[in-house]
């Protein structure tokens, strides 16, 4: 416990201080500049909707325009992406209409274009139903059509008080007077006719294309609804039943009475929708909103594509597990078999969940040890022996998966997440330990490894830890500094206090 600092240690302390300084600077910079919160905050629901446009190109220039959703009461657009190799793309805002326009000089054969949008569900603004009413267009009718229209409108007006009740009654009339209705929908769609008739009665209305959002649905199509205005307030009506109101999962995809898709240079077009729901921390939503505010100082994983981000989510947690191992070995003095084996086991536990992971670990290592003890009778060379153990581990894992599946235990399939090579080495080491030092040492080291693995797992699944490590890459430098500091600790380990205790308690 000398108080003097050896001169050779000074550069290390400078390095540690530098790392902590740089790490904290980056961390605070990210917090204040990008408003990334310190703690993970409430989750918000995001609907990711993918529109898949398919058509047959005719070998000519292709121009394609797709209506895309805009911000609206209840839904806020967070981000949008497209996947359309070779196509030029522009988002066009024509007043209130928003469209994605693709173009290409020449295309032939089956074409598939994707448009993906993330809409944030906002409960507070959902009940706001304000909008700019469309212009009333008056259509003139002749002959039997005029008679039918006049008749239906008169009855509906007589039984209604305002624009919304008028709409409801008109749809009811449509359903009751099937013969008149039949006559009217011969030329135009039911929705178009209803809008025309409402316009005729002086009520602004239009047809909107809506999408019902259900998690995990694929190949969905849009459903037409009526949007009827009374002043700048509007209401949605189901043109079939006359039901008034917007469902919470009903998104207005197109609300300007224009077409969903315009295509030049192709045929047989179709648009289908896939929908998934995600619970996302509010911080990520903010991130996506400022995604275009890229900055040289923004050392953020968030600038990577989604797939890589998911990978880094795991990688960035490893320093936490490593620090747990360092602390347990250097400060506490727990013996583990294989220095960082516990971290890898902990990573596997994250995939499998703790109980499944522990059961799987005991099963695999237990059976592996039995096979290994049989192999040791044959005096094999080391590399061949380990290889045999690896193959055994794979067979064990496969057998457990099949068995678990057969018994209807879906959890059992997760054993495949265990790192097989690492498990094989663990089995080999424990087996040698058993032969050399006896079963007691195997349980001490095996138990130590599992204890450290469980601790690392508990720290690594902590949502606050995950949030901090993923969002503040500067913390990696701080962890580096902590590890270096541990590497410089010359004091006693906790286990040594126990080991040497009687030396100072005797007298």
């Amino acid at each position: 416990m000398s108080k003097s600092v050896s001169s050779t240690r000074v550069p290390l302390y400078v390095l540690v201080l530098g790392l902590i300084g740089a790490g904290l600077f980056l961390t605070f910079y990210r917090h204040y500049t990008f408003d990334v919160p310190w703690l993970p905050d409430a989750k918000r629901q995001i609907w990711s909707i993918e529109a898949k446009v398919e058509f047959e190109a005719l070998g000519q220039p292709v121009k394609l325009s797709l209506a895309v959703p805009d911000n609206q009461p209840g839904f806020e657009r967070v981000s949008e992406h497209t996947a359309s190799p070779g196509y030029g793309l522009a988002f066009v805002d024509e007043g209130v209409k928003r469209r994605a326009e693709w173009s290409i000089r020449e295309a032939k054969g089956r074409q598939t274009l994707y448009y993906q949008v993330d809409m944030l569900f906002d409960e507070d603004s959902f009940n706001v139903t304000e909008g700019v009413p469309p212009v009333i267009e008056t259509v003139t009718y002749a002959g039997p059509e005029q008679t039918a229209v006049t008749q239906l409108l008169q009855r509906a007006r007589a039984r209604s008080a305002d624009a919304f009740t008028m709409t409801r009654e008109l749809i009811a009339e449509f359903n009751n007077e099937t013969q008149l209705a039949q006559l009217l929908v011969q030329q135009k769609s039911r929705e178009r006719r209803l809008v025309e008739m409402l316009n005729l009665a002086g009520i602004p209305a239009r047809v909107v294309q809506t999408l019902f959002l259900e998690d995990g649905r694929r190949r969905q199509t849009l459903v037409s609804y009526l949007q009827v205005f009374s002043g700048d307030q509007y209401a949605l009506f189901d043109p079939q039943t006359g039901q008034q109101g917007q469902m919470e999962n009903q998104l207005l995809w197109e609300q300007n009475s224009s077409s969903l898709l315009d295509l030049v240079g192709g045929r047989d077009s179709a648009v289908t929708f896939s929908i998934i729901s995600q619970e996302v921390p509010a911080s990520r939503i903010y991130q996506e909103k400022v995604a275009h505010l890229k900055n040289a100082m923004d050392f953020s994983i968030h600038s990577l594509p989604l797939e890589e981000q998911a990978m880094f989510k795991g990688i960035l947690l490893i320093p936490v597990g490593v620090l747990v191992v360092v602390i347990m070995r250097i400060l506490v003095g727990i013996r583990t078999s294989g220095t960082f084996m516990p971290v890898l086991i902990a990573l596997a536990f994250i995939q499998t969940s703790l109980i499944t992971g522990l059961v799987g670990f005991f099963l695999i290592v237990g059976v592996g040890l039995m096979i290994r003890s049989y192999l040791s009778r044959h005096n094999l060379l080391l590399v061949a022996r380990i290889s045999a153990v690896i193959i055994s581990v794979i067979v064990i894992i496969a057998a457990f998966s099949v068995l678990a599946y057969g018994l209807g235990l879906a959890e059992g399939l997760k054993v495949t997440f265990f790192p097989m090579i690492i498990l094989s080495w663990t089995i080999e080491r424990m087996s040698i330990l058993w032969e050399e030092e006896g079963a007691k040492e195997v349980f001490i080291q095996g138990g130590g490894s599992l204890l450290v693995a469980v601790l690392a797992y508990l720290v690594m699944i902590n949502p606050i830890v995950r949030h901090l490590m993923f969002n503040f890459i500067g913390l990696q430098f701080v962890f580096m500094a902590l590890v270096l500091m541990c590497g410089n600790y010359t004091g006693y380990r906790l286990s040594e206090l126990r080991r040497f205790k009687h030396l100072v308690q005797e007298r």
Binding site: N488, Y492, R493, R499, F500, K501, L503, V504
Partner: protein, 326 residues
Amino acid sequence: MNLLQYWRERTVYGRLAGKGILGMNCRNIRYISRYNPRTLYPLVDDKLKTKTLALEHGVNVPDLIGVIDNQHDVRKIAKMTDGIPGFCIKPAKGSGGKGILVIDRVVDGVYYKTNGQPISLQDIQRHISNILAGLFSLGGKTDFALVESLIKVDDAFRQFTHEGVPDLRVIVFRGFPVMSMMRLSCASSKGKANLHQGAVGVGISMDTGGAVRAVQSGRPVTHHPDTKQPLSELVVPQWIGMLELACACYDMTGLGYLGVDLVLDKNRGPLLLELNARPGLSIQVANNAGLLPRLRRIESIKKPEKFPIVERVAYSRTHFAAQSDL
């Protein structure tokens, strides 16, 4: 101030620090990594290299009967030991006494271990095969087997051992012997001389070679558990010669923080058994003394290389003497 005093006098941590007990972290950072260059490790991790080096430097070692370095030569063991009453087979890269097979006597082609258990030639050959496969070596590396002649236990130790050969561990720091202990095998350690396997550790005073204190499995003992001999009577004969041999090991390896294991042969005197670049900390328990004050004293010597072996031994005997507790 009060808090500091409390920490020093009342807490286990503070009192261990006050006593100068060396901990694992401190040993690794302050002593092993500072004084033991990694390039020198092979000299001590490979017993054949140690032996060759020792012979070059005139350090006495047990006689080498032969080396078996490939599976094909395993069958030569019978011819190699023909006419030799007792021998010992060791893995060259083994550690902690693992894989050592001692054959006491051979009667009509049947080999007897020190505990009297007979084993066949095939058993011996299988043991050698295991050594070659790396079963006992660090990290499972392929290894070779050394066949050495038996050490004859000096009469002074006959009363203090069960089966095995008692050895003397000396910690040599920058060429100065700083602490030592005898390791006596007993029935509960199955003839092994490792403290964590249940052997008795006897702290030895650096000036006289007499026993200071004895522990077994961390508990103080006063008599050998099997022979019931009072350990206070244990005095290492040829003490100065033992210490000089230990110092010579520093000169030949250059390892600044070294554990030297010595034995005393009835006929040949002090012999070097093996060297250890990462000697354990239990020696402090056996001596009931901390290594740190002694290590610091040696560190304060400006030019230790100027001291010849005789002076180093004299220095240690003067400064590191201890009173017996037994």
